[in-house]
Structure formats: C-alpha cells, structure tokens
Symmetry: C2
Subunit: 200 residues, 2 copies
C-alpha cells in the first residue's frame, strides 16, 4: 500500500477513535437496561439467547421465561440448560392457533407470568429474558400496566430483554434500547424448509 | 369470556393455522441457508451466537470466525468454548481504529479468512458464522468474489451466517434470509454505560 494511502487511513481511523472515545466517556450511567427486540425479521429470540450465553459466560444469574412457544423449539435451551446459573420457564402450550382455546391460553399465560414476576424481584438475576411476551399483551392475556409495574420495580442492576413482534407502545417508550429486526428476505417465503438447529 | 368471543377467536386462529400450514407445505427445498444479519442495531452478533447455541443443542458441528473484534468481547465464547463440537477463531487485532495499521490488519484478515475457507469446505460444520465479515469487504481487506466463491462451493447442508453493518450488495443478492437490525433507540446514546455480560 502507498504511504499516502496508509497515512489517510490512519487519519480517518484516529478521527473515528476520537468520536468513539468521546461517546464512551459521555456514557456514565450504570444500571440494568431494558432491551426490546421487535420487528418481523428473524433474530429476535436468537439475539436474546446469544445474550444469555454472554451473561452466563461471566457467571451472572439468568432467568428466561418463554411465552407461547412449545417444547419443539429447544436447541439453545438444551445446550445451556445444565448451567446452574440459568433458570428457564416455558409456557409450552404450543402456538395459540394450534390449541385454539383462549381461556386455557390465558390461564397458562397467568401461571407463566408469575415466574417472570418472581425473577424480576430477584437481585441474583442479572438478566431476565421475556421471550415472545409482546403477544401476551397483544392477545389481551396480560395487562400492560402490570408488566410496566414489574419492570419499574425490578432490581436496578437487572437487565430485561423483551422479544416479539408488535411491541406495545408503552413498552417501547420505557425501553433503553430498541432493535427492530426487519425481514428484508426470508428463505421460508422462497420455498426453503425451516432447518433444524438453525430456525428452531 | 363470552361464547361469541371464544368462537370468533377460534375461527381467526383456524384461519391463521391454515395459512401457516399452507406455507409449511410449500416450503419443500432442504439445504443449508445463507443468512445475513446486517443493519446498525444491536443484536447481529448475539443472534448469531444464539443460533450457535441452538445448533450445538442438537449436537451439530459449528465453526465461528470473528473478524476484527478483540479478546475483550468473550462472554458467549467463554460459555460455549468447552463444547467439542465448536471451533472458534478470533482475528483479535482489536478494532481497526485502535491498531490503525492497514497492512497489519490486512494480513490478520488474510490469516483469519484461511480458517473460514477451511471450515467452508468441511461438511462436518453444519453451521459456520462469519462474524463482522462485512467490514473486511468494506475496508477492502478481502475481495468479494473470493467470499462468493467460497460460499458457492460450500457443502450443501451447511448454513452460513454473516454479520455486520453495510453488507455488500452481492452478498445480499446471494442470501436466503436477510434481517436488517435497525437501531430505533440505543441506551449508549442516552449516556448509559455498556454493560458487562449484556453489551460485551
């Protein structure tokens, strides 16, 4: 590479580093975060599980509550389940369009939410994941004010991740970080089968 | 709940189930996928690691190649590193704006890419993650044609996940599934410190 190009690159990188350093210095508040992974694209639940693996890697206590999804989606649970620092609760009623009974689903949601509330009062849980919670609000199985209350009163060091499409407006307002996973293209819509160990 | 509401719900769910069943039936092609997680939002790398945990949960062989990122980001690696089915290679030169030497970075990229190529010829790797690869193309450290060639010739059962901002147009054209992780809000920009075990 020419010396001139090398110098230009170095200057550009120095400028970028200054910018990043300034942002790091400005970020001074330390507390647990509320993260929302929403949107119609692939990656919401897997991003949550990736964060679970990350937190466990440092030895932090983690709680995961999975709403709706059934026992068939279990690769990541299986892999991490033996960790004494991890507790996973799964509603496991199957998808609501398979059970097709609103009252049963509502009762299952209620019982599962009780575990979420317990975890959100436990300071030993550094990270709590409420996977697919958004649907519980959307279907009216759970009241948004109750969810907001539990979030507001959780231990200050605790980070909570909420995943699911169509996140409630009030949840979004409360969130520190929101990522909208947008589906630009999905293999499934092109006739490609869902892959074991990849899609579920 | 009223009987009428219960009936309405049941009908809506039956219709949804028909729609989903039809899509599942139409998806008949079985092969490894090319997934791209791009966009400026949080969740690209963690979604890849979540998928790693998922694939490992079924006992599949997984290879991860991390471009750029340094040793400091390691929670998820640490947690999964003991898995005999997982191989992780990390370029680990630190961020390019810290090393600020284009030639060194390019050489490190070249050496790291060799591992990616090896994994992409190995049928025992059911999943290969090329984390932050997009920057290697953007910085000109790696030629896109070379990457496309390796992808095109990989074992048919192998799924590859590429993460990073500003994914190359040709990579996007080749992808089966693209998720654009959009940053709607980020805690860091509101003065909140990055959290150990959450952000890194």
């Amino acid at each position: 590479m020419s010396d001139e190009r090398q110098r230009r690159h170095k200057r550009a990188m120095e400028k970028l580093k200054q910018h990043v350093d300034a942002k790091v210095a400005a970020a001074s508040v330390e507390r647990g975060l509320l993260l929302v992974f929403t949107g119609n694209g692939k990656g919401k639940t897997t991003a949550a599980w990736g964060t679970v693996a990350r937190a466990l890697g440092y030895g932090y206590g983690v709680g995961v509550v999975q709403f709706i999804k059934g026992e068939w989606e279990c690769g990541e649970r299986q892999r991490l389940a033996d960790d004494p620092q991890l507790e996973v609760v799964v509603m496991a009623t199957g998808f609501t369009w398979e059970t097709q009974n609103r009252d049963t689903d509502r009762a299952a949601c209620e019982a599962t939410w009780a575990h979420a509330e317990r975890m959100m009062t436990d300071p030993s849980r550094y990270l709590v994941v409420l996977d697919e919670l958004t649907y519980m609000l959307k279907f009216g199985y759970l009241d948004v004010q109750r969810v907001m209350r539990a979030l507001a009163h959780r231990p200050p060091e605790q980070t909570v991740i909420i995943t699911g499409r169509n996140a409630h407006r009030e949840l979004l307002e409360m969130a520190d970080t929101i990522t909208e996973m947008q589906e630009t293209r999905h293999a499934f819509n092109q006739g490609l089968k869902a892959r074991r160990g990849i899609d579920y």
